[in-house]
C-alpha cells in the first residue's frame, strides 16, 4: 500500500483499489464500538481481550479488529458486529472474547446468549440489519461510523472517502457547488436551521480575498451527543465537507472549534488532520489542483455560549467568548472581520454525500422545507437510549415509541423535550407532529441540534423548567440585560412557584417576561432561553396552576410541596425506614406502625426507596 503523498487526482483511485483488495483478503472483521457510550461499558477491555484471543489462535492476520465510533445503540453497549455476516452481539464483556473467537470466528457458530432479544416478540435476532431499532431508521451518516476506524484515513478512503472532494475540485466550479447545496435545500443542523446554501452563497459573494470556514463542534445541550459521535466516529467526513465548503466559498483556512470536554473527538480530529496533511489532502495544491486549504483545531474552554457563532469567533480570536450584535451577518463580517462560513458538524458531514449523489438525491429525502436526515439523541425515560438517524418529517411517535421502544418501567410517557435548553417541551398529544424545523417551531419547540429528552409521568414540568433555567443562568454570558436579568428573574419566579409561594400573577408575568427576552436579547441563547418556560406554560399550564393554587406538585417532585406519609395498612413495622432515615424523623417501635415527623423530615426520599412494601407514599 502506498502511503506517499497523493500528487495528482489520478493517485486516489489506485490507492482506493489497493485498499479494497487488501480488505477483501480478510476472513472476517470484528467491529467493536469504541464510542464514548460503549467505552463507558468497558468496550476497550473487550477489544484488548479479543486481540489477545486472536493472537492466541493465530488468527491475527486473517481477522481484522476494527474499533469504530458510535453505532447509535448505546443502550446495548458494548456492541460488536462481525463482518461479513453482520452478526450482532450486544452487552459483550471481556470474558466473552474467547468464546467469540473460538466459536463464531473459527467455527462459524452463533452464540445465542449474546444476540439481541427483541423485547416485543421475545425472539433473538442474528444480524444488525434485522434489529427493529436500526430497521426503523434511515441511517446514512451514522451507518458510515460502523465502516471506518476513525483513526484510519485508509478506512475512509476505502469506502469512497474524498471522492466527493476530488469531484468538486476537478469537475465542479465553486458556483456549481453552491448551487448544488442550494438545490439540496440542506438546512443547518446546529439549531437555527438556516439554509446552508444561502449562507454559502452570501459568503461567496461577500467582498474580500481572505475567507474562513469554521466547524462548530461546541455541542453543549444536556443530553445531546450527535456531533460528538460524528466527529469521534468519522472525522474525515467532516473534514471533507469543510474542504468542499471552503472551495465553494473561497476560503483557504478552516477551524474546527471542538469543546475540550470531548477528548476523544479532539484526538480523532487532530489525527485526521495530520493524516490528511501527510497524504496531501490538506495543504498546498490539493490533488495537484490550484486549491490550497488547511485546518486548525481550536479547543473550547467549556462555555455553552461559545456554541453561538459570534461568541465562538470571539473565542477563536483569543477574546472572551461573548456574542456580539449580528446586524452585519458573519458571512460578511465574521472571524477577524472577514467573511466566514460557520456550520455545525452534522451540516458539514452531510455535504460530501450531497456532492457525490447529487442534490436531487438529498432533496428527495425528508419533508417539505426540511430535507435529508437528522441525527437525534434519544435520552431520558426511554427503553432504547441512543443515537438515531431518521428522515426529517418522521413523527415524534415513530421516534419515541417506534425506535425508542416507549417508556421504561411501564410508566406512561408525558412529554418530550426537544432542542436542548433552547427548545421546548411537547406533550404526548402532540407526538403526531413531524420532526421538521417548521412544524416543531410552530408548536413552540425546535429541532435544535437534535436532543430528545423523553419524560414520563413522574416528571414535574415546573421542575423541568427550573432545571433548564438553572443551566442557562450559569451559561448565559451575562452581557445583555434581558438574558442575564430575565433568566435570573424567571428562575426566581419559578422557584417561588415550586416552593409554594407562587401567586396568580406569576404566570402572566412569566409570559410577558418571556416575550421580552425572546424579542430583545442579543444572541440566540437569550432569544431562546425562555422557551422551556413558555412551552411548559403553553402545554402544562394546569401544572403551574396546581402548584400556585393548591400548593401541590402533581408529580410529587417539588420538595417543598410534598409530604411523605406511611400507609398504616401496608406498613409491616419492619423498621427499615427508621434505620435508614438520616434525620431521625421516623418514629415507631417494633410491631408498631411507624410514623413520620413532618417537622423533622427533610424529604430526602431515602425511606421511600428503602421500604419494600410500598408503604411510604407522597402526598
Amino acid at each position: 500500500m502506498s502511503k506517499s503523498r497523493l500528487k495528482t487526482i489520478k493517485d486516489l483511485a489506485p490507492l482506493r483499489n489497493s485498499l479494497i483488495k487488501e480488505r477483501e483478503k480478510l476472513r472476517a472483521t470484528i467491529v467493536i464500538c469504541g464510542g464514548t457510550g460503549c467505552q463507558a461499558s468497558r468496550s476497550l477491555a473487550v477489544i484488548d481481550e479479543v486481540k489477545k484471543q486472536l493472537a492466541k489462535h493465530k488468527l491475527k492476520k486473517s481477522v481484522n479488529v476494527r474499533t469504530t465510533g458510535c453505532h447509535g445503540f448505546c443502550e446495548q453497549g458494548p456492541v460488536m458486529v462481525i463482518e461479513p455476516d453482520e452478526i450482532f452481539y450486544c452487552h459483550v464483556s471481556p470474558d466473552d472474547a474467547a468464546e467469540i473467537v473460538t466459536k463464531t470466528i473459527r467455527d462459524g457458530e452463533i452464540i445465542e446468549r449474546l444476540l439481541y432479544t427483541d423485547p416485543v416478540s421475545g425472539k433473538t435476532i442474528k444480524t444488525e440489519s434485522e434489529i427493529p431499532f436500526y430497521l426503523a431508521q434511515d441511517r446514512y451518516l451514522l451507518a458510515q461510523n460502523r465502516q471506518v476506524n476513525p483513526c484510519s484515513i485508509e478506512d475512509y478512503i476505502a469506502i469512497g472517502g474524498y471522492s466527493a472532494l476530488a469531484k468538486t475540485l476537478f469537475e465542479l466550479p465553486p458556483e456549481s457547488v453552491v448551487k448544488e447545496i442550494v438545490n439540496s435545500e440542506l438546512r443547518g443542523r446546529g439549531g437555527g436551521g438556516f439554509p446552508t446554501g444561502r449562507k454559502w452563497a452570501e459568503c461567496r459573494e461577500a467582498p474580500g480575498d481572505e475567507k474562513y470556514v469554521i466547524c462548530n463542534a461546541d455541542e453543549g445541550d444536556p443530553g445531546a451527543y450527535m456531533d460528538r459521535c460524528v466527529l469521534e466516529g468519522n472525522p474525515h467526513l467532516v473534514l471533507e465537507g469543510m474542504m468542499i465548503g471552503a472551495w465553494a466559498v473561497g476560503a483557504r483556512k478552516g477551524y474546527v472549534y471542538v469543546r475540550n470536554e470531548y477528548p476523544l473527538a479532539v484526538k480523532h480530529i487532530q489525527l485526521a488532520v495530520e493524516q490528511a496533511r501527510k497524504l496531501g489532502i490538506l495543504g498546498e495544491n490539493i490533488f495537484g489542483s490550484p486549491f490550497s486549504f488547511d485546518v486548525d483545531i481550536a479547543r473550547g474552554g467549556g462555555a455553552f455560549v461559545c456554541g453561538e457563532s459570534t461568541a465562538l469567533m470571539a473565542s477563536l480570536e483569543g477574546k472572551v467568548g461573548e456574542p456580539r450584535p449580528k446586524d452585519v451577518h458573519t458571512v460578511v463580517d465574521g472571524l477577524w472581520h472577514k467573511p466566514t462560513t460557520l456550520n455545525n458538524v452534522e451540516t458539514w458531514a452531510n455535504v460530501p454525500s450531497i456532492i457525490k449523489n447529487g442534490s436531487s438525491w438529498f432533496a428527495s429525502k425528508g419533508a417539505k422545507g426540511s430535507k435529508g436526515t437528522k441525527i437525534l439523541a434519544l435520552t431520558g425515560h426511554i427503553k432504547n437510549t441512543g443515537l438515531v438517524e431518521v428522515e426529517m418529517g418522521k413523527s415524534i411517535n415513530d421516534v419515541v415509541f417506534g425506535i425508542g421502544g416507549g417508556a421504561t418501567n411501564g410508566k406512561a410517557i408525558k412529554a418530550v423535550q426537544t432542542g436542548g435548553p433552547s427548545g421546548g417541551c411537547l406533550p404526548v398529544e402532540k407526538f403526531d407532529l413531524p420532526v421538521d424545523f417548521d412544524a416543531l417551531a410552530d408548536a413552540g419547540s425546535m429541532v435544535g441540534s437534535g436532543g430528545m429528552v423523553v419524560m414520563d409521568e413522574s416528571t414535574c414540568m415546573v421542575d423541568v423548567a427550573k432545571y433548564f433555567l438553572t443551566f442557562l443562568q450559569d451559561e448565559s454570558c451575562g452581557k445583555c440585560v434581558p438574558c442575564r436579568l430575565g433568566i435570573d428573574r424567571m428562575l426566581e419566579i419559578v422557584t417561588e412557584i415550586s416552593e409554594g409561594r407562587g401567586t396568580s400573577d406569576h404566570i402572566e408575568l412569566l409570559e410577558d417576561l418571556g416575550d421580552t427576552m425572546s424579542t430583545t436579547s442579543l444572541c440566540g441563547l437569550g432569544k431562546t432561553a425562555a422557551n422551556p418556560v413558555l412551552s411548559t406554560l403553553r402545554y402544562f399550564r394546569d401544572e403551574y396552576e396546581t402548584h400556585i393554587n393548591e400548593k401541590k406538585c402533581p408529580a410529587g417532585v417539588c420538595q417543598a410541596l410534598i409530604t411523605y406519609i406511611i400507609d398504616e395498612e401496608k406498613c409491616t413495622c419492619c423498621g427499615l425506614c427508621k434505620r435508614a432515615c438520616p434525620h431521625n424523623a421516623i418514629a415507631g417501635k417494633k410491631k408498631q406502625v411507624h410514623s413520620i415527623d413532618v417537622d423533622l423530615c427533610q424529604k430526602c426520599g431515602i425511606c421511600m426507596s428503602e421500604c419494600k412494601f410500598d408503604a411510604i407514599q407522597i402526598q
Partner: protein, 232 residues
C-alpha cells in the same frame, strides 16, 4: 467630505453621515431613544438593549438595538411603537428592580414608562452596563478593569481583584458609572413595589415622556448629552 445618507426615523427624514449608528442619527435629530450602555466615542456593544427600535425591511419588522445598527440609505426605523414601548418598559423594569437606588436608572425607567414594578427589589451595586470597562479599555487602552465571570457571576473587577498598576487614576470610570450619581434619597428599600416618586417631579407627564426629551437628571452628560433647551 463625509458621505451622507437619508434615513426615515419615526416619519422624519434625517440625514446622517455614513457609518454612524441609527441611535446617533436619532439623537442628533432630537429623537430621544432611551439608552444606558452607549457612551459617545466608545465602541457600542448593545448590552443594555434599551435603545431597541423596529427596523422595517421588505415589509417585515425586525427588532434590534439602534446603537449597533448602522445607517443605510432609505432605511425605515420606528423607535416609539406600542410594541417597542412595552419591551423597553420591561427591560427598564428589570434594570430598575436590580438597582432601585440609582437615580440614573430610575430616570431611565420612568422615561421608559415604568410606574410599578413586578419584581422584588435588589440592591445591586452594579448593573454591568460596561461603561467603565469600555472607557478604560477603549478610550485609554489601559485595561485596568474588565469583566470577570459569566452569567450571574459576571462582575467588573481589576485583574485578580488587586489594585491594577495599569490604572492611571483618571477617574473616567467613575464619571461614567450610572451608580455613583447621587443616590435617590427616597425610601427605596428592598421589598417595596413602587418607585419612590422623587424623580417623578422631573417628568412633565407620562405621555410627554414617550419620545421627547424631558430633561432628565442625566441630561447634561449621561443620558443624551443634550440639554433641555436645544430639544424643545
Amino acid at each position: 467630505m463625509t458621505q451622507e445618507v437619508t434615513v426615515n426615523i419615526d416619519g422624519a427624514f434625517i440625514r446622517a453621515p455614513k457609518g454612524s449608528t441609527v441611535l446617533d442619527a436619532a439623537l442628533g435629530a432630537g429623537i430621544c431613544i432611551p439608552h444606558l450602555c452607549r457612551v459617545p466615542y466608545l465602541e457600542d456593544i448593545g448590552a443594555c438593549r434599551l435603545c431597541i427600535v423596529e427596523h422595517i425591511e421588505n415589509g417585515r419588522s425586525k427588532i434590534t438595538t439602534s446603537c449597533t445598527l448602522l445607517v443605510q440609505e432609505g432605511m425605515r426605523i420606528l423607535s416609539n411603537t406600542d410594541r417597542i414601548r412595552k419591551l423597553r418598559r420591561n427591560i427598564a423594569e428589570l434594570l430598575v428592580t436590580e438597582a432601585p437606588n440609582s437615580r440614573a436608572i430610575q430616570d431611565i425607567a420612568l422615561r421608559c414608562g415604568v410606574v410599578e414594578t413586578r419584581y422584588p427589589f435588589r440592591n445591586s451595586d452594579c448593573v454591568l452596563c460596561g461603561r467603565c470597562v469600555r472607557a478604560c479599555t477603549g478610550h485609554f487602552g489601559e485595561k485596568a478593569i474588565g469583566f470577570v465571570g459569566r452569567g450571574k457571576d459576571r462582575r467588573v473587577e481589576s485583574p485578580f481583584n488587586l489594585y491594577s498598576e495599569l490604572c492611571n487614576e483618571c477617574g473616567r470610570c467613575i464619571d461614567l458609572c450610572p451608580m455613583t450619581i447621587v443616590p435617590c434619597d427616597g425610601n427605596m428599600k428592598p421589598g417595596e413595589g413602587r418607585l419612590c416618586g422623587n424623580c417623578e417631579s422631573k417628568m412633565l407627564t407620562e405621555e410627554a415622556a414617550q419620545g421627547y426629551c424631558i430633561g432628565c437628571y442625566m441630561g447634561d452628560g449621561f443620558q443624551c448629552e443634550r440639554s433641555i433647551t436645544n430639544t424643545l
